[in-house]
C-alpha cells in the first residue's frame, strides 16, 4: 500500500475542443486551446516550479516561480497565466530562469521559520520542495529585519490551525474559499509587507463565516493551514479510496493512514461526485469512529429496565434467533420485522431484506427512506417510470435556471451546493421555493431572482399555480410533450391547471406568495433555457409529498426540461445511501430494482435463487409496525443503523410501540435512543471498518473500502448472515463482493455492477448493464423508462394539521451543516463547536409578542407533546413560522411532530406542525423524565470476575 499522490496540473483543464501543438523543452505536446503553459508542461512530463498555482483554482500569477521563456518573445512570463499557442517553443530551464527562481525563493525563505524538521508539514510541503527544486543554498538577507516569524497562531477551529508565520501569501486558500467552496470567508488584508490572510473581518476562524470545508487547508502549500490530526500523528504513509458516510452527495475520499490510524481524510480529485472537494463533516468529522462511547461487545437483557449484560457473539446471535422464533411461534409469522438504514451499505441492506423476506418469512421490512424520500420513489416512478433522480451532479454546470424547492443545499448537501453556486456565479438564474430564507436566497455572489417564501404545507398549490402560468401564457413545449408524453393526458392536465382557482392570484391566499412573483418565476423556469429542479425533504415530508413530486415532474415534462444535460428533476437525498437503500428492495412492497413483490415472474426468480417460497403480499411500513406494536400484534424488530426513537415523528408513540415489543434488536455504533428500549445490542462497524458500496443521489454506486479492522470483531453483513443461519435460513458469503454479485444477478439495472467493474470505472451510475456498460449519467434521454411521460392532476388538499388559537404557529424542522441526522456521529466530534444544542428559530415579531428574547428558554408545544429549547430570533423565518433541528436527544424535537403523513407512502409530515411557543424555565417534565430513563436504561453491568 502506498500514499496516493494525485498529479497537480497547476491550473484547471481547458474545455476547448480545438487543439494546439507546441514544444516545451524540446518535447512536442498537443493540448486543448486555452490550456496554460504550466499544464501543458505537466502533460509533456515536465514540472515547472510553482507555489501559488494548483489545479483546483484559476491561475493567479503571483509567486513568480513558474516563469518560462518563449522563443521570439520578450521577458519571462508566468507559465500559469500564459496560454499555449500554436507552434511556440517554450523553455522551462535556462540560466536566467534559475537565477530568478532562486532569488524569489530566497526572499520567501527570508521570512519563513527554518523549523522544517519539527514542522508538521515536513515531507508534504511545497515550499520545502521548491527550495530543493531551485537549489536554494543560502539566504543572504538574514532574519534580523522585520518579519512575521512571531505572528500568533489561530487554533480556534477544532480541526485545523492557522499559523501566519508560515504563510507565503500565495492566496491559494483565499481562492479555494472563493472558487471551490464559494463562501468568500477569507481575504488578504493589508498591502505589501502587511499583507496577511484574514478570516472574515479579521476574526479568528471559528468566529468567521468559514464553514470549515477544509478547501483552504488542502490548497495551502505550506504548514500555514494544516490539520490538527497531522500535527498530532505525523504524515500518512498509505491511503485508501473510499466513499463518505455522510450525506447523499457521496464524496470520494482518500483515507490517508498511518498503520490502522486515520491521519486525515482528503477528498479525491477523481471522485466524480465531488471532484476533490468536501465539507466539514466528510473531511473532518470522523472522530466518532474511535470515540469512547462506541459499544464493542454484544449485549443482552431480558427487560429494558435491566442493566445490559455483555455476552459473546454466539450467545447474542443465539438469543436473537431463539426470541424471534419464539415470538413467531406464539404470535404468528408476521409479528416480527426489521428496519434497514440509509447508513448501511447496499450489501448490508440487501442482506437484511433477504433475511426478513426469506428467513422471517414475511415482508415486514422497511428503511428510513420511509421517513424522507419515499414520496420520491412513488412520484417519479409514476410519472417517469423509475424511482430516482434524472441527472448526474455535473449536469448543473449546464443549467441556465436552477429551481430549488424544499432543500437547503449549503447545509445539507454542501459539496453539491458549491458546484451549484459556481454555476450561479457564472450566470445561471435561481428560484428558491422555501418557507425560510435559506442561505442560497442571498449570499456572497449568489442571489435568487425569486424567493417564493410560501406557507408550510402549500407546495402543491404553488406548483400548480406555476403550471397555470406556463399553460395559460402558452409557455409549454408542445413539441416535446407531443413526442415524449401522453398527449391526451397532457391536455387533461393543461385544462386542469388552467382552471381559475389554480391561478397565482387565487392561490396567493393559500401560499402567501404574491401572484406576480409566482408568474415571474414560472416564466423564468419555462423560458430561461435549461431549467433544473433540485428538491429535498421540504417537498417530501408533507401529507401531499408524493403529489408535490409529481407536480414537479409535470412542470419538467410540460416545458421539455427533461432528458438532456442541464435540466431534470433531482432529489437531494438526505443520508449517504438513501438511494441505495431504496434500490436494494428494502421497502415492504418491492424487491431490488423497484419490482413489486406481487409480480410473479420476479418473485419466482427470487424464490428459485433463494430456494424458499416468498410472501406475495406487501408487509408493514415503519409507522404501520409501530401502530401494530402499540396495538399488540407486532412483537419483535431487528433495526440496523437507524434510531427511530429520535428520528421518527411523534416520539411518544414510537416509544410506546418499542416498549410494547418483546424483543427489540439494535445493531449500531452507540447506545442510541432506540437502544434505551432494546433487549439486544449488536455492535456495528463504521464505514472505515467495512467493505461495500453506497449509492448517492445521482444513482452513483461507489466503493466503500475497509481501512481498519472491525473494532467489534464482526462486520455488519456477517452479523445479519449469522442471525439468518441461526434462524434456519442458510446464507454463505465470504465477502461483500459476493453479495453484490447476487444483487447484479437478480437486478437488471445492476447487471453490470461488480467490485471489479467499480475498481475499473471508479464508480458507476445505474442502470449499468449490457445496454449501458459504463452506466447512465442522464436518464430518459430518448424516451421515459415507462414509455410515455405520465401527467398527473395535482389537486391541492390542505393538511389537517391546522393552526388555531391554541397552536397559532407552524413549526418546520430540518438540519444544519455541522450535524448529520440524529447527530449520533457528529455530536461525538469537534462539530459540536458550531452547534452544541438545537435552537428554535423564531421571527422577531412572534418573539416580541411572547416576551421571548435571544437565548431564552422557550417551551415548544403541539398537540402531540412539548419540549423546551433556547430561542434564536431571526428573520430567516417568516412571521408565523418557527424552525428547529433534530440533532440533539436532549431536545427530542420529534416529541412535538405529529402522526400525519403522506397519503401514498406514509412519509411523515415533519414540515408542518401547529405549535405554540411560550417562555419557559428549562427542560419540560417529559424531557427530565426521559433523561432519567435514558441514563437508567443505558447502564451496563460490571463483568463478573
Amino acid at each position: 500500500m502506498t500514499l496516493i499522490q494525485e498529479i497537480d496540473y497547476g491550473t484547471p483543464a481547458s474545455k476547448a475542443e480545438k487543439n494546439v501543438t507546441l514544444t516545451i523543452d524540446g518535447v512536442a505536446v498537443t493540448v486543448p486551446e486555452g490550456t496554460s503553459l504550466m499544464r501543458a508542461a505537466v502533460d509533456a512530463g515536465i514540472q515547472v516550479p510553482k507555489l501559488c498555482a494548483t489545479d483546483s483554482v484559476n491561475a493567479f500569477g503571483s509567486c513568480r516561480l513558474c516563469l518560462v521563456e518563449i522563443e521570439g518573445r520578450n521577458g519571462t512570463p508566468a507559465s500559469c497565466t500564459t496560454p499555449v499557442a500554436e507552434g511556440i517553443k517554450v523553455l522551462t530551464q535556462t540560466e536566467r530562469l534559475k537565477q530568478i527562481r532562486r532569488g524569489v525563493m530566497e526572499l520567501y525563505i527570508s521570512d519563513h521559520p527554518l523549523d522544517c524538521l519539527t514542522c508538521a508539514a515536513n515531507g508534504d510541503c511545497e515550499l520545502q520542495d521548491m527550495a530543493g527544486a531551485v537549489g536554494l543554498r543560502e539566504v543572504r538577507y538574514g532574519f534580523d529585519g522585520d518579519n512575521h516569524l512571531k505572528a500568533a497562531k489561530d487554533e480556534s477551529n477544532p480541526y485545523f490551525t492557522f499559523d501566519p508565520s508560515k504563510c507565503i501569501v500565495c492566496s491559494r486558500c483565499v481562492r479555494a474559499c472563493e472558487e471551490v467552496q464559494g463562501t468568500f470567508a477569507l481575504t488578504i488584508d493589508g498591502r505589501g509587507f502587511d499583507s496577511k490572510v484574514s478570516a472574515g473581518m479579521d476574526e479568528d476562524f471559528i468566529g468567521s463565516e468559514c464553514v470549515s470545508c477544509g478547501a483552504c487547508v488542502q490548497a495551502c502549500p505550506t504548514a500555514t493551514l494544516i490539520e490538527k490530526s497531522v500535527i498530532e500523528i505525523g504524515q500518512p504513509e498509505h491511503s485508501v479510496i473510499t466513499t463518505c458516510a455522510y450525506c447523499g452527495v457521496g464524496c470520494s475520499f482518500k483515507a490517508e493512514m498511518r498503520g490502522t490510524e486515520v491521519v486525515r481524510m482528503v477528498p479525491y480529485k477523481d471522485g466524480k461526485a465531488n471532484h476533490g472537494h468536501s465539507c466539514v463533516k466528510g473531511r473532518f468529522a470522523w472522530g466518532y469512529t474511535t470515540h469512547r462511547d462506541r459499544i464493542l461487545n454484544p449485549m443482552v437483557r431480558e427487560k429494558i429496565s435491566d442493566p445490559w449484560r455483555e455476552v459473546s457473539w454466539d450467545e447474542a446471535i443465539a438469543y436473537v434467533a431463539s426470541e424471534f422464533k419464539r415470538i413467531q411461534a406464539k404470535y404468528g409469522r408476521n409479528a416480527v420485522g426489521g428496519i434497514t438504514s440509509s447508513r448501511c451499505t447496499n450489501e448490508e441492506t440487501y442482506l437484511i431484506q433477504k433475511l426478513i423476506r426469506a428467513g422471517f418469512g414475511n415482508n415486514n421490512v422497511d428503511t428510513c427512506a420511509r421517513v424522507c424520500h419515499s414520496p420520491t420513489g412513488y412520484g417519479l416512478k409514476e410519472t417517469f417510470g423509475t424511482s430516482a433522480g434524472t441527472q448526474d451532479f455535473d449536469s448543473v454546470t449546464e443549467a441556465d435556471v436552477v429551481l430549488i424547492i424544499g432543500a437547503n443545499p449549503t447545509d445539507a448537501h454542501p459539496v453539491f451546493a458549491s458546484q451549484m453556486k459556481k454555476r450561479l456565479r457564472s450566470g445561471a438564474r435561481l428560484i428558491v421555493v422555501d418557507p425560510r430564507r435559506i442561505d442560497m436566497v442571498r449570499m456572497p455572489h449568489v442571489e435568487a431572482s425569486y424567493h417564493l417564501q410560501l406557507t408550510p404545507g402549500t407546495n402543491v398549490a404553488l406548483l400548480t399555480a406555476l403550471a397555470h402560468v406556463i399553460v395559460t401564457e402558452g409557455l409549454a413545449d408542445e413539441a416535446f410533450v407531443r413526442e415524449r408524453c401522453d398527449w391526451d393526458e397532457f391536455q387533461d392536465w393543461a385544462a386542469f391547471v388552467a382552471e381559475q382557482h389554480h391561478s397565482p392570484e387565487a392561490t396567493a391566499t393559500i401560499t402567501g406568495v404574491p401572484a406576480e412573483t409566482v408568474r415571474a418565476a414560472a416564466r423564468l423556469y419555462a423560458t430561461g433555457g435549461n431549467s433544473a429542479i433540485y428538491y429535498g425533504l421540504g417537498v417530501t415530508e408533507h401529507s401531499q409529498g408524493t403529489t408535490t413530486v409529481m407536480a414537479m415532474a409535470n412542470l419538467a415534462m410540460a416545458t421539455g426540461n427533461i432528458g438532456r444535460r442541464g435540466v431534470g428533476v433531482n432529489p437531494l437525498r438526505g443520508q449517504n445511501n438513501v438511494q441505495g437503500a431504496c434500490d436494494m428492495g428494502s421497502f415492504p412492497h418491492e424487491f431490488t430494482g423497484y419490482r413489486h413483490i406481487s409480480d410473479d415472474a420476479t418473485r419466482t426468480m427470487f424464490e428459485a435463487f433463494w430456494n424458499v417460497p416468498l410472501d406475495p403480499e406487501p408487509g408493514l411500513r415503519i409507522p404501520n409496525m409501530l401502530d401494530a406494536a402499540v396495538d399488540g400484534s407486532f412483537k419483535a424488530i431487528y433495526i440496523e443503523g437507524e434510531d427511530i426513537a429520535q428520528s421518527d415523528p411523534d416520539t411518544q408513540h414510537v416509544v410506546a410501540g418499542l416498549e410494547n415489543m418483546e424483543c427489540v434488536v439494535v445493531q449500531d455504533l452507540f447506545l442510541n435512543e432506540t437502544a434505551n428500549f432494546a433487549h439486544v445490542f449488536l455492535p456495528g462497524s463504521t464505514f472505515l471498518e467495512k467493505d461495500g458500496t453506497f449509492t448517492n443521489a445521482e444513482r452513483r454506486i461507489g466503493r466503500v473500502r475497509k481501512v481498519m479492522p472491525s473494532r467489534s470483531g464482526m462486520a455488519d453483513w456477517e452479523i445479519t448472515m449469522a442471525i439468518s443461519n441461526a434462524m434456519g435460513f442458510p446464507m454463505q458469503y465470504n465477502h461483500p463482493s459476493e453479495i453484490m454479485d447476487e444483487i447484479a444477478h437478480l437486478t437488471p439495472t445492476f447487471a453490470g455492477v461488480s467490485y471489479d467493474s467499480l475498481d475499473a470505472l471508479g464508480s458507476v451510475q445505474w442502470p449499468c448493464n449490457d445496454a449501458a456498460p459504463t452506466g447512465t449519467p442522464i436518464m430518459h434521454i430518448d424516451h421515459f423508462v415507462r414509455g410515455k411521460g405520465h401527467f398527473v392532476l395535482t389537486e391541492y388538499v390542505a393538511t389537517d394539521e391546522r393552526t388555531g388559537p391554541r397552536f397559532p404557529l407552524l413549526l418546520t424542522t430540518g438540519r444544519i451543516l455541522s450535524h448529520y441526522n440524529v447527530g449520533a456521529q457528529t455530536r461525538r466530534t469537534g462539530n459540536v463547536a458550531w452547534h452544541p444544542e438545537d435552537l428554535l428559530e423564531i421571527h422577531p415579531h412572534d418573539a416580541e409578542q411572547r416576551g421571548v428574547r435571544e437565548g431564552d428558554w422557550v417551551r415548544l408545544q403541539s398537540r402531540s407533546g412539548g419540549t423546551s429549547l433556547r430561542a434564536k430570533i431571526t428573520e430567516r423565518v417568516a412571521p408565523g413560522v418557527v424552525y428547529t433541528t433534530f440533532h440533539h436527544p436532549e431536545t427530542q424535537a420529534n416529541v412535538v411532530t405529529t402522526e400525519f403523513s403522506d397519503w401514498a407512502t406514509n412519509c411523515p409530515e415533519y414540515k408542518v406542525t401547529a405549535v405554540q411557543v411560550s417562555p419557559s424555565n428549562g427542560p419540560t417534565e417529559w424531557q427530565s423524565h426521559y433523561q432519567e430513563l435514558s441514563e437508567h436504561n443505558r447502564h451496563i453491568a460490571e463483568a463478573a470476575e
Binding site: F496, E617, L620, D627, D631, L793, V797, E899, S901, W903
Partner: protein, 72 residues
C-alpha cells in the same frame, strides 16, 4: 391496528384518486391498498366496512368493499 388510523389513511388515498379524471377512482383506491397495505390492515378496514364503514368517504367505502371481495 386501530380502524381510526386506517380510516384516515384510506380517506387520504381516496382524495387523491378522486381527483384523477381519467381513472376510475374506486379501482385506483383499491389497487393502491392492495399494492401498499399489509393484508392485516386490509382485513381490518374491510371488516370495518362490512360493519357500515362510518367515516369512510363514499368512494373509499366502495373501494374497500371491492377489496374485501377480491383481495383478501
Amino acid at each position: 391496528m386501530s380502524p381510526d388510523r386506517l380510516i384516515y389513511m384510506a380517506n387520504q388515498i381516496g382524495k387523491y384518486f378522486s381527483s384523477q379524471h381519467r381513472q376510475d377512482p374506486v379501482a385506483g383506491i383499491a389497487n393502491h391498498l392492495k399494492k401498499f397495505w399489509d393484508p392485516s390492515m386490509r382485513r381490518t378496514i374491510a371488516a370495518y366496512a362490512d360493519q357500515g364503514g362510518a367515516g369512510l368517504d363514499p368512494l373509499v367505502l366502495q373501494a374497500v368493499r371491492t377489496l374485501s371481495v377480491t383481495h383478501l
